[in-house]
């Protein structure tokens, strides 16, 4: 493994005063970037306000004395040049899809078409106040409704809300709809708490995303874990033994987090429906089945879609996302409102469903993300969307097969858009862990896959190459993973050595949290309040 000589500067060598020193940018060096607070110099300015000719008032005329601050609030004093240099250098210390392959399993880090950025920056969309009368916002209402209809068509559902900001928000919304539905059945009205409810359990497979159980807990339901069988799928016999009239529903991801399609899904749906439960579809992996099969046709009642995964809206370093939640017609009366709808005369308005559980967003959801996703759907069309899934599945299977003699393959079957490998044998043989593989990949110029998830596979590497990577990229990534498997403990233990920082001490970070620059500076001058 090639190693670059690493020069680790003492803290004193880090430039602290100059907006023009580029040493932290990887093409010039690997020094630390000072914080914006360290770049601050008294008297520097960047802001400029428009001239308004509004009469000037003194502070005392504007604010009653008891509301005036006693302490002067400090931010920073920097020039525009300082700001541009600082944040540009920070961006150069950041990996993104636009830099290279990003094979994080379950996260769907595919290329985001640039034209969708252009759409999301149209002033007709960005400069719209959300409280505007529907007469003023016909364009926006049309976009929202068209995306809702497209999502319903793609998932095989009837109605949707666009309010949830992300998958976890949609999950909780869906579970509250589930609750409202069951309550309407048993008592005819929705009541807070769950004391009277007979249905209090939600089933979740042991391979599920962490948000699923966290959302169930917040919805007030009890969690019952369903084990997976040796094929990595729901254990039907175990499921049967768990079903009863205390089941509110089941949350499933299909394909599941092992990248496997739940082959018995029709039977599972029938079994759950038979005891009066509902099926929730976690759409994290919907990108594998576009135009191939639909959650609605599988028997799901509630379906969320991650626009930031399947429909290529960029992840923004962790957000914003958006997660429309679609339901069958019998659950539509419970959806959050207001919802866009089409009037008979072809114009658009807002309506709130009769038994709505209420709003789940301050306004109408992450509207610009919705506009990007609709643009992506239009760009692809029905054929293109099916090709997206076919290519994603083809890429994943190629990569999986190319690595099956090098890493453990816990579930040997055709995978869907992602697959899980394990380093268990390599770990036993020479100590190579999933974390080591990830760090070695960084050394070789690739972003690593998801590691240590799903939890049911030891030393898991969860790989999702996506449809937007070429065969050449897959070959190089495959070769890198094979080379890493052959590395010696000395080699893999020191990786990565070419990045701007190396393995980070996470234990110290959690034990003595330094969460602001002020905490850091206080600690430096001896006022250590970290353990206070």
């Amino acid at each position: 493994m090639k190693q670059r000589e690493v020069i680790t500067p003492a803290e004193d060598d880090i430039p602290k005063s100059s907006g023009g020193n580029g040493s932290s940018a990887p093409l010039l060096g690997s020094l630390a970037e000072p914080t914006i607070f360290e770049l601050s110099k008294p008297g520097r300015r960047a802001f400029s306000f428009r001239s308004t000719n509004i009469p000037e008032y003194s502070l005392d005329e504007l604010v009653p004395p008891q509301h005036l601050p006693e302490k002067q609030l400090r931010l920073v004093e920097v020039s525009e040049r300082d700001i541009v240099a600082h944040f540009t250098r920070l961006s150069m210390r950041q990996y993104g899809v636009d830099v290279g392959v990003y094979p994080l399993g379950s996260c769907t880090m595919k290329y985001n078409p640039k034209v969708c950025d252009t759409v999301a920056s149209l002033s007709g969309l960005t400069n719209m106040h959300p409280a505007s009368d529907p007469k003023l916002s016909q364009g926006w209402l049309k976009i929202l409704l068209c995306l809702e209809e497209a999502i319903c068509e793609i998932t095989g559902m009837d109605s949707a809300t666009l309010q949830p900001s992300a998958g976890a928000s949609a999950e909780l919304t869906g579970l509250l709809i589930m609750k409202a539905w069951h309550s309407s059945k048993t008592t005819g009205f929705f009541e807070k708490g769950r004391g009277y409810e007979t249905r209090h359990k939600v089933l979740i497979p042991d391979s599920s995303h962490g948000t699923n159980p966290a959302s169930v807990a917040l919805s007030g339901y009890d969690i019952v874990t369903v084990p997976s069988n040796s094929k990595g799928l729901i254990d039907i016999e175990a499921l049967k033994s768990l079903l009863g009239d205390d089941i509110a529903g089941i949350m499933l991801t299909n394909p599941n987090t092992l990248g496997l399609f739940e082959e018995e899904i029709a039977q599972i749906a029938e079994m759950v429906h038979e005891v009066g439960g509902l099926l929730y579809y976690d759409g994290a992996n919907l990108n594998a089945i576009l135009g191939v099969t639909r959650p609605g046709d599988m028997g799901f009642d509630i379906v969320h879609t991650n626009l930031h995964k399947t429909f290529a809206t960029p992840h923004g370093g962790g957000g914003p996302g958006a997660a429309p939640l679609a339901v069958t017609s019998r659950l539509a009366p419970f959806l959050p409102g207001p919802r866009p709808y089409r009037l008979d005369n072809g114009s658009y308005g807002w309506t709130t469903p009769a038994q709505s559980i209420g709003r789940v967003h301050s306004w109408h959801g992450n509207a610009l993300v919705v506009a990007r996703a609709w643009a992506y759907i239009l760009l692809n069309g029905p054929k293109g969307l099916k090709q997206v899934s076919q290519a994603a599945v083809l890429n994943a299977n190629w990569l999986k097969k190319s690595l099956q003699d090098t890493y453990d393959v816990p579930y040997d079957n055709f995978c869907m858009h992602e697959f899980v490998l394990s380093c268990e044998t390599l770990k036993k043989a020479k100590g190579l862990s999933a974390l080591d593989v990830a760090k070695c990949l960084l050394q070789k110029g690739f972003h690593p896959p998801t590691i240590y998830f799903p939890l049911i596979v030891h030393e898991a590497l969860m790989i999702e190459p996506t449809e937007t990577e070429s065969l050449e990229t897959l070959k190089e990534l495959s070769q890198a993973l094979k080379d890493i498997a052959r590395a010696t403990p000395e080699e893999f233990g020191s990786a990565p050595s070419t990045t701007v920082v190396q393995r980070v001490d996470e234990v110290q970070a959690a034990r003595s949290p330094l969460l602001t620059w002020d905490a850091v500076s206080n600690a430096a001058i001896g006022q250590d309040t970290r353990n206070a």
Partner: protein, 432 residues
């Protein structure tokens, strides 16, 4: 590639999808658009909107029409930030991690509180998470909330508390300020004391609440004081921390984020150190790498859903990182002096506008408490009709408050010329 897999067709890869489940035929969607055709279509549709470029905006209610400098737009659209995932691999994520660390520092400073997380979805969900924090911290399940909190936020809170069995007790406003002495129906003092008190600063009507009163009551009840604040107001008002607040939440849209029909926006949350391990979402900390070099990393991860699953304090995973970076850039651009100047300009514009409108016959203040940049007026005409007439004159005149009032908001963007014209149009609309 198919040969390598020993497959004859792409369909064979989907063999595990049973035949009855296969979707045969084509999805009923428009056929693919070329890039230029897509842009033509989307531009046409977006032109059906009447934006704040066309109508002079006096509407607020949690979304404000501020100027956004070129530098904020340019830096926040750097594709390394836009196309990154959550910074799980710190070696190649120092850019976003450091930007979020700086964001947390800014939010800690403008709230006067010890720690902040790296963002939540929006103001409403930040409020919900703060309430959940207070409930976990105090192990109580009653909440006192002021009617001065944004009604949409209260609705979101109510929706989500359907799962957590929280009892919400509403306290009315008296002349624009929360009346904590009121006896709300359905609650007697013999019941469980509250986990927290929630109050707006300024509140939904733009009024400056007497937070010292709320602090005293919270202290006497052993409850957390949760302050929903306007970030722009922090340029000239006492911070939630100075008032003794325990948790502060806000909608951060005003910090460089376009109106965007309501999203994506930015949920802000900050708290005192003792609440730190109850904070939801991602938090970035400064640490060192194996060579002792300064390095940032997501920390206190043991609180989060991917590790604690059903025992997590919150289900949040995806957040609003890109918006948080935007806010950090915007706050750097404003700086210490600009942040105060911005608040002064908003307050001055509001004072000037309020005086002009109150000169109009029949227009009265809805409440007399002091306000910051937003205020409520009682008008002698159905507010919906008044606002419709104002649209005809080229103004987005505000947000209706029931059947007799409107809520008007000002930013640094409004000029004297626009405000004078607005007052004239207002008078004309009332007379017609």
């Amino acid at each position: 590639m198919l040969d390598f897999l020993g497959c004859e067709s792409l369909d064979q890869l989907f063999d595990t999808v049973a035949e009855p489940l296969r979707f045969n035929g084509s999805l009923k969607l428009d056929k693919a658009y070329s890039e230029p055709d897509l842009l033509t279509k989307m531009t046409e549709i977006s032109n059906e909107n009447h934006t704040v470029d066309e109508l002079v905006c006096f509407a607020g209610g949690g979304a404000y029409d501020h100027d956004i400098p070129a530098v904020t737009k340019a830096l926040a659209s750097r594709s390394e930030f836009v196309t990154a995932y959550t910074p799980y691999q710190p070696e190649v994520s120092q850019g976003i991690l450091q930007a979020l660390f700086e964001f947390q520092t800014f939010i800690s400073r403008i709230t006067g509180l010890d720690v902040a997380n790296s963002s939540l979805y929006d103001g409403a969900t930040a409020l919900t998470e703060a309430v959940n924090m207070a409930a976990s911290f105090t192990k109580r399940s009653v909440l006192f909330i002021s009617d001065g909190i944004n009604p949409a936020w209260r609705e979101v809170l109510t929706t989500f508390t359907r799962g957590t069995s929280l009892t919400i007790v509403n306290f009315p406003l008296k002349d624009g300020i929360t009346d904590w002495e009121a006896s709300p129906p359905g609650y007697s003092e013999s019941e469980q004391p509250p986990a927290g008190l929630v109050v707006g600063y300024p509140n939904y009507l733009g009024c400056l609440e007497e937070l010292s009163v709320a602090r005293k009551i919270a202290t006497s009840l052993g409850a957390a004081l949760i302050v929903a604040f306007d970030p722009i107001a922090m340029g000239i008002l006492k911070t939630p921390g100075e008032w003794g607040g325990d948790i502060a939440v806000a909608e951060g849209q005003s910090l460089g984020i376009p109106l965007s029909f309501g999203g994506p926006y930015l949920g802000l949350i900050a708290c005192k150190a003792q609440y730190m391990r109850y904070l939801p979402g991602r938090i970035v900390g400064q640490s060192k790498d194996v060579y002792g070099k300064k390095a940032y990393v997501t920390t206190l991860r043991a609180r989060e859903q991917d590790i604690r699953r059903e025992k997590a304090s919150s289900n949040i995973c995806t957040n609003q990182t890109l918006m948080a970076i935007t806010a950090a850039i915007q706050l750097s651009w404003l700086g210490t002096v600009g942040f105060k100047e911005l608040a002064l300009r908003c307050a001055a514009a509001a004072k000037y506008t309020k005086q002009l409108l109150l000169n109009i016959h029949g227009v009265e203040p809805m409440v007399s408490s002091p306000t910051f940049r937003e205020f409520a007026l009682k008008v002698p005409l159905d507010p919906e009709l008044l606002l419709e007439r104002l649209i005809g004159e080229g103004f987005l005149g505000g947000i209706p408050l029931g059947k007799e009032g409107i809520l008007i908001a000002l930013t640094e963007k409004r000029t004297r010329g626009e405000i004078d014209a607005f007052a004239q149009a207002f008078e004309k609309a009332l007379k017609r």
